[in-house]
């Protein structure tokens, strides 16, 4: 009787709770608090944080791999794996992030970018953060090139791209990278404005931009097709992300696939977000997360954001000088993706300087160009280090 009771007690989670588990449960609760009370990207941070919670409950085996044996040429499942293990295969095999891009494409209006193609340069400049952070991570000696590339991509401010690249190059860092990427994306309104103000003068921030031209329907339909062809021909590994982004956008713009557009931007993206968030969070086990490298990732991630923002603003300043004015440098910071928050930050900072300034639509150009830019940068890193 006593032996049975002792065995039962040993099978309880509480008996197997370690300090690491307790710390991770605390981190999960903090993330849930930040998501719900502080509004930090709640749609993503809640599933991620709950995934962290689930995976750190002892003996729940949410991420356990299945145990399979082959007996008499027949496969037997000795023990089925945990639910999170199966959901994680969507990240591990690179399925979920492109599907998120499908929904993002269906939600994105590329009109401001088509109307002002110069925005693409700002979207490219903001990717500096990725590569400078890569350099810093390599210099630190803590990381391999694959890990450094996965950390650098945080600077692209694009969650699905960060998950896509790190699942391919450094799956063991996926949890820390995803948490850093989404937390910093939520903090864009805090991180960016001081850098934007530091690098611009009062006069530059007050520059008014001329209204964008109207974009024809034909242009809107041809844009996703051409972008897919051009990017795929230059950086083939970026085709998965760009292809999905652009077919989502084609659903939106063609005007004859309304049902597909609706599914892509509502039901599908929401379903995938739940699966992706939970499974990414579930990779953040105590032994994977509570390491010096995680602190380094958090530090390098915010550096990447800051450098990307600065590079965008500086190129916009240069373009304003070279092209004879008319470009407000504040739109450059929107080149880090974080759609549409980074564009809203440009609008808010610009309007503080001049209440009649309307930068939102102008900033949306570099903002959506940043999505393309970070997918291209991810493709380059993938081709170099896969």
């Amino acid at each position: 009787m006593l032996a049975a009771l002792a065995e039962f007690i040993h099978s309880m989670g509480i008996f197997n709770l370690t300090l690491g588990h307790i710390l991770m449960i605390g981190i999960a609760c903090l993330l849930i608090y930040l998501a719900i009370v502080k509004g930090f990207e709640p749609l993503l941070l809640i599933p991620i944080a709950f995934g962290v919670l689930l995976t750190n409950l002892p003996l729940a085996d949410m991420m356990a791999e299945p145990i399979i044996e082959i007996k008499d040429k027949v496969i037997h499942t000795v023990q089925p794996g945990g639910l999170m293990y199966y959901l994680f295969q969507g990240d591990h095999l690179g399925i979920f992030p492109p599907l998120i891009f499908l929904g993002v494409g269906a939600m994105t209006d590329f009109g401001p970018l088509i109307a002002n193609p110069k925005s693409l340069l700002l979207g490219a400049a903001a990717q500096f953060g990725i590569f400078i952070t890569f350099l810093a991570a390599i210099g630190s000696g803590l990381f391999t090139a694959q890990e450094a590339a996965s950390i650098g991509i945080i600077g692209g401010a694009d969650g699905p791209t960060a998950i896509f690249l790190s699942s391919r190059l450094a799956p063991h860092l996926l949890g820390s990278i995803a948490i850093a990427a989404y937390s910093y994306m939520a903090m864009v309104p805090i991180i960016q404005p001081p850098i934007m103000r530091l690098l611009t003068t009062k006069e530059e921030r007050a520059i008014k931009m001329t209204q964008l031209r109207e974009v024809s329907k034909k242009e809107r339909i041809l844009f996703p097709i051409l972008v897919t062809i051009v990017v795929a021909l230059i950086v083939p590994p970026a085709t998965t992300l760009i292809g999905m982004l652009m077919i989502g956008n084609l659903f939106r713009e063609c005007g004859v696939a309304g049902r597909l557009e609706d599914t892509a931007k509502n039901a599908l993206i929401n379903t995938i977000t739940i699966f992706l968030g939970l499974s990414v969070g579930a990779t953040a086990t105590a032994e994977n997360f509570l390491r010096v490298e995680t602190l380094a990732i958090l530090f390098l991630g915010v550096t990447a954001f800051a450098i990307g923002t600065a590079a965008g603003v500086l190129l916009a300043k240069l373009m304003n000088k070279v092209m004879g004015g008319g470009i407000n440098p504040l739109i450059g910071s929107a080149g880090v993706s974080a759609v549409p928050m980074a564009a809203r930050v440009s609008q808010v900072v610009g309007q503080k300087e001049n209440p009649s300034n309307f930068l939102l639509m102008h900033a949306m150009g570099p903002n959506v160009a940043g999505v393309i830019g970070s997918a291209v940068a991810a493709g380059i890193l993938l081709s170099l280090f896969k």
Binding site: F134, A145, Q146, Q211, F223, A377, L381
Partner: protein, 148 residues
């Protein structure tokens, strides 16, 4: 050691530890240069493609139709009206906690207002009105009926 050999060693997790700090940084700089270079080239090519796209799909600009009764020359042209300060009165039926977003959205909507240049619009105040106007109520009822 050639650049391609250096990159190969950088890319291999087994050999990266054998590289000196200087070699690692040199390889990292090469990756940075390559990465930013290709990103810029790809996006500049896209820029050219989009510019060409706009040229090829441009619709012939509409000539303004001549007015049948031109205004008599003797009549003085109306003096340009000073831009009235637009004070949009906003009714937000859905409660929202993000105060920064509301001015941004309202500004964007006003900027898209077709008959007025953005420079003419000055937002001095945005305030919420207490009672919903009749058209607003009708809109809400219509939306509710179409969804439930």
């Amino acid at each position: 050691m050639g650049i391609s050999e250096l990159l190969a060693q950088l890319a291999d997790p087994a050999t990266i530890k054998t590289l000196s700090f200087a070699d690692r940084m040199l390889a990292g700089l090469v990756v940075t240069f390559l990465g930013m270079g290709i990103t810029f080239i790809a996006l500049v090519i896209l820029q050219i493609v989009i510019t060409l796209l706009a040229r090829f799909t441009a619709q012939p600009s509409r000539q303004p139709a001549p007015t049948s009764q031109p205004a008599p020359a003797s009549q003085p042209a109306p003096a340009p009206q000073p831009a009235p300060a637009v004070r949009p009165v906003v009714d937000t039926p859905v409660a929202t906690t993000d105060d920064d977003e509301i001015p941004a959205v309202i500004s964007a909507v006003l900027a898209m207002y077709p008959t007025r240049a953005t420079g003419d619009i000055v937002i001095r105040n945005i305030r919420k009105i207490d009672s919903t106007p009749a058209w607003g109520k009708a809109g809400i009822v219509d939306q509710m009926n179409s969804r439930f």
